[in-house]
């Protein structure tokens, strides 16, 4: 369901881009966001390694799941924008 929703969002974004209402997303933009997400994941992994209570561990693992999901989506998005640059598609 996740990626289907994401591709729908991308279609909406492309429509707005063609109408001149959105800035062009380049692979570099996705890479920057991806690196922030990976940094957060690494920080969470460190916190998990140091966690001493079950409650804290559960909370951190829940966070880690979300971080992983974001990374998966960002990587997919990167492939999308690398394979099909928005400006070329708009032509």
């Amino acid at each position: 369901m996740g990626l289907k929703r994401l591709s729908k969002k991308i279609s909406c974004y492309k429509e707005r881009f063609e109408q001149g209402r959105a800035d062009e997303i380049k692979p570099d933009h996705v890479i920057k966001v991806l690196s922030k997400l990976k940094a957060k994941k690494a920080a969470l992994a460190e916190e998990i390694a140091a966690a001493r209570t079950d409650d804290k561990l559960q909370r951190l693992e829940r966070k880690l799941k979300i971080a992983n999901e974001h990374i998966t989506r960002a990587e997919w998005l990167l492939r999308e924008f690398t394979d099909k640059p928005v400006r070329e598609e708009a032509k």
Partner: protein
């Protein structure tokens, strides 16, 4: 005083017109010239689209850069007043430093002297009215266009046309006047003339609020032989003092920084004028020397006046710049930064209202101010101390230890510290939206207003909680205390996570991190509800207590959701393509739920294994 100003000014004009009808053309020339300046300002505001503001932000890296920026921008805009007012706005919004602002104003003083060169060198030597007519005709066609750029060009062209037309009428007026009356017989020689005409120049500039207009009037009167060269020099010195009035008026609505800048402007211009008066004889010799070397004829007093105007302003900058640090220290001592009053808007003031970029920045900072007040009130409302919550590595433990009710009238604090700021934010953002601003700009302004609204909602939710928090957490009362402590802990955790995001470098943080907190909140809301069901079934909590708690937990989770939504909008990337990426990646509520619920069974086993490992590691 103010209420007599208008009738006296109009009365004086009517009397002058009645006594000497020739004055009408000179007065109309001044009026057309001033109207041209207003139009030129409007044109540049339309045309700028933030370019000037962007440049201003970057132009204050060093004092020399600031001075150069002041010279160039004032030369282009032909208005030191506009540059001063923009500088005050930027200073008030915290976008530039005081020393940078002072540098710009010094540069603007030199830049404004190019006006005298234009009038003396071009305006008096060619028939500029011939250029004014086609410029005005073309400009009006452009002004009625929909495109903001074309409209801006139209206003700027029309402004220039009116400037030319104004100069032409002043010139014509003085020439006609010369045939009727010889003003030069009122010339005053020596020191008396120097002082009297300096005062006259000051008063004329205060009345017209434009040294540029005064200089044009002086030059046209000088070229028509209506005033002597010596008196014209004194008048131009007076114009320099009078021009500070615009900055002073601009600073009235500004914060302490704007007021410091206006005082710096006044000090600089008065010092420069004093130096020019004291050293008038050597300055005249310098002007003669420069004029002879640049090929200005002996009898061309209008151009010599322009040389004098530039020379004494450059001299002023050269004399004052070495003492700039001392001047800044004096200004900081003289106009002391007021003690921050958390209940009053700190960044939104009249001075930032006029220029979009200053307004957006000021609004952002005011929203942050509101958030800081809100967080303090929320934590105090939950009987928690912000510094303890931010410093602890065990939030739940700190919450358990925080039992003493904090002396707080939450309704009064809400009115005093939240509502006043929120009202200012709504007022300024709504007015900004009413102006003809680009859609993207209005969207950003309205987004900031929505963030403020979310923050206010969060405070309102906590207001509802306050009574039962005091009732059930001031002393331990078993299960119900545990439940309320749980809510207090969760709200505190969200606030700490937002605090971490705020402390992170903008290049390293992502608003997407808050999705993790959203997941926690939704999971917490579900498990709290399940726990209440279980407690009711086991008769460990009474139905009325359970109902109260369910209501309160609704408020608590709403507050958390509002805070997260506000922080997400506030910290989302400001570079628009990056913001688009983050918007694409943000998880919807059902997606969050799906991710959290997946592989739940395996999670428990993994947790147990991890804890066992940590224990072994600790013992080892």
């Amino acid at each position: 005083m103010k209420k007599y100003y208008l009738p006296v000014a109009i009365g004086a004009l009517v009397v002058a017109f009645w006594l000497k009808p020739e004055v009408q053309e000179i007065a109309a020339g001044v009026a057309i010239f001033l109207f041209g300046m207003l139009m030129l300002e409007d044109g540049f505001k339309n045309l700028g689209g933030g370019i000037l503001e962007h440049m201003l932000e970057r132009a204050t890296r060093s004092t020399l850069d600031s001075i150069l920026f002041g010279i160039v921008s004032t030369t282009l805009l032909q208005s030191s007043s506009l540059v001063s007012v923009i500088t005050i706005s930027f200073l008030s919004a915290g976008l530039i430093s005081l020393i940078g602002g002072v540098g710009i104003v010094f540069g603007a003083n030199i830049g404004t002297t190019t006006g005298a060169w234009l009038v003396a060198g071009l305006g008096l030597k060619v028939n500029i009215a011939a250029y004014a007519m086609p410029m005005l005709a073309i400009s009006i066609v452009l002004v009625f266009q929909k495109s903001k750029l074309l409209r801006g060009i139209g206003f700027a062209l029309g402004g220039l046309g009116f400037l030319f037309l104004g100069i032409h009428h002043m010139k014509e007026g003085f020439e006609a006047f010369r045939d009727q009356i010889d003003l030069s017989r009122y010339a005053l020689p020596g020191l008396v003339g120097l002082v009297a005409y300096t005062l006259l120049g000051t008063v004329a500039t205060v009345v017209m609020q434009s040294s540029h207009a005064t200089m044009v009037l002086i030059i046209t009167a000088l070229s028509a032989g209506q005033i002597t060269y010596d008196n014209a020099l004194a008048l131009s010195i007076g114009a320099n003092i009078g021009t500070t009035i615009t900055a002073i008026i601009g600073a009235l609505g500004a914060n302490y920084q704007g007021k410091r800048l206006a005082l710096a402007h006044l000090i600089f211009n008065v010092v420069t004028a004093a130096v020019a008066i004291v050293f008038i004889t050597p300055l005249r010799e310098v002007v003669e020397f420069i004029s002879a070397n640049v090929g200005i004829s002996d009898g061309d007093y209008a151009l010599k006046l322009a040389v004098f105007h530039t020379t004494f302003n450059v001299l002023g900058v050269v004399l004052v710049v070495p003492f700039l640090r001392n001047l800044i220290a004096f200004l900081e001592r003289r106009i002391v930064e007021p003690e921050p009053d958390v209940s009053r808007p700190r960044f939104l003031n009249e001075a930032v209202d006029e220029f979009p970029q200053t307004l957006e920045n000021a609004l952002r900072q005011e929203v942050k101010h509101l958030y800081d007040n809100a967080v303090e009130l929320i934590l105090h409302g939950l009987n928690l101390h912000p510094h303890e919550i931010y410093e602890t590595d065990n939030i739940a433990g700190t919450v358990l230890r925080s039992r003493r009710p904090i002396d707080l009238d939450i309704d009064e604090s809400y009115e005093h510290r939240i509502k006043t700021l929120y009202s200012a934010i709504v007022d300024y953002s709504t007015r900004a939206g009413d102006k003809r601003t680009p859609r993207e700009f209005s969207d950003r302004i309205y987004a900031l207003r929505d963030i403020a609204s979310g923050i206010v909602q969060a405070v309102k939710s906590v207001k509802h909680l306050r009574k039962n928090v005091i009732r059930y957490t001031a002393r331990k009362q078993g299960t119900v205390t545990e439940l309320y402590d749980g809510l207090r802990t969760e709200i505190a955790r969200i606030i700490v996570e937002i605090h971490k995001l705020d402390l992170a470098e903008p290049d390293e943080r992502s608003a997407l991190w808050l999705d993790q907190e959203r997941a926690q909140v939704e999971e917490g809301a579900v498990s709290t509800s399940r726990r209440i069901d279980e407690l009711i079934r086991k008769h460990e909590i009474s139905a009325p207590s359970a109902t109260s708690f369910l209501n309160d937990s609704g408020y608590a989770y709403d507050a958390m959701r509002d805070l997260i939504a506000a922080a997400r909008s506030y910290y989302i990337e400001r570079e628009s393509a990056m913001a688009e990426v983050e918007q694409l990646l943000i998880l919807e509520d059902d997606e969050l739920d799906e991710v959290v619920r997946s592989k739940n069974a395996r999670r428990g086993e993994a947790n147990a294994a991890r804890l066992r490992n940590n224990d072994v590691a600790e013992r080892g």
